[in-house]
């Protein structure tokens, strides 16, 4: 799958630094936009309604202060009617299984990755495997 834009949301700048590198290896033609603060992401994302006219990838950290990744998805669901073009990969540092069980209701989630993400497991997740 190709994405024009890839959004990275994680409260840790070093994690973002790493994810940028891995994503640019796997999806060299995508524009990568990073957010350390989930509020800024939501603000920007809602301001540009045409963003979701094309498939968009979001690598979303589950465990963040203030808002979790799931809180963020819930907010997007409330604000945006059509999320068909949003593809989310949830990224977590631990307890992967428990996180997966908790989140089956979000249809926009296409995969899960345990940190640190690598070129190979990002590719696998994009092909639909966990």
């Amino acid at each position: 799958m190709q994405f024009k834009k890839v959004y990275l949301v994680d409260d840790n700048p070093t994690t973002l630094f790493l994810h940028q590198d891995v994503v640019s290896d796997v999806l060299p033609f995508s524009e990568i936009i990073s957010y350390e603060d989930s509020e800024f992401f939501i603000k920007d994302f809602l301001q540009i309604p045409e963003t979701l006219k094309e498939p968009v990838l979001l690598l979303l950290d589950i465990n963040m202060p203030i808002k979790t990744g799931y809180d963020l998805l819930e907010e997007l669901e409330e604000e945006i009617d059509d999320l068909d073009n949003l593809n989310v990969i949830m990224v977590t540092s631990s307890n992967l299984r428990r996180d997966i069980e908790r989140s089956s209701r979000f249809t926009c989630i296409i995969g899960y990755l345990e940190k640190p993400i690598t070129v190979n497991n990002l590719k696998t997740a994009l092909l639909g495997g966990y």
Binding site: P65, I66, T68, K115
Partner: protein
Amino acid sequence: MQFELPGNTHRLLKRQVKKSLEDDALTDAEKLTKFIELINESYFFVDDERNLHRRSDEISSRELMEVNEQLQSKNDFLDSFNHGMAHDIKNHTSNLQGLITMLRKYIELGNVEMRNKIVDRLDLSVNQMVSIVQGFLYLSRAEGKIDSQYRIVNDEELKTAIQLETQYLFASREHELNYHFELNELFYSRHIIKIILVNLISNAIKFTPLDRKAIINVHVLHHENEVVLKVEDNAMGMDLTDPNNKIFSLFNRTEEGEKTKGYGVGLFVIKKIIDRNAGKIDVKSTPNIGSTFTITLPLNQLNK
């Protein structure tokens, strides 16, 4: 006429019965009446004794329950503490692993600029890990021996100790950290004060929006019978009237890490330390303006 006394009769009763039976002034009928009266009385003794036993059973099972509850809460604390710590450490080790993979790649590509950038990041990550592990050591001490380490608190020492453990959080942020100490020969555990302040300061910086200069005022005041720790921030604040307030639910959190949500274990640990030292915590907060945490610890606890 001979009467055999039942073996279980109270020893005192037995003596009384024997005495009355040997009293020649009484007729057999009178002896029998007396005997029946004494047996009757003995039932009351037995009843009393049974009640006494029951009560002591109740008391010991209540004590057991109390001890059990204490153990349970300690266990819950250790559980969520472990979960929070493991989570923090896992995050940093993941970053270290990722950075090393990335470093290999750029060494192979001969990209010196990227290589140097990665080494800087590695340095930062390792330092963050070191402060987490240090915090871990201090906190595990908080559950044990920490209470006994009382001495005169020196403001320069306290400042240095706090700065050492929070500087990595401030490294990339515009900030103003103001100390206001009125220690007046305060005799207390520097560790307790430091752990509370480091956690409150860390939270303050973590919850300050990135586009805002973080202004944090730290007060340590020595009043007659208490020490007052106050940390004011201009972070995002919170709505204390909201029953779902996450920061407060953390105070009461017992179930394993489910609600941790990146808050770490800071406030939870603070609450534990305050409870142990018979202190109080007061929180004032306005959404988007900031919060003030005030902790009061009595000094007379020292004599316990």
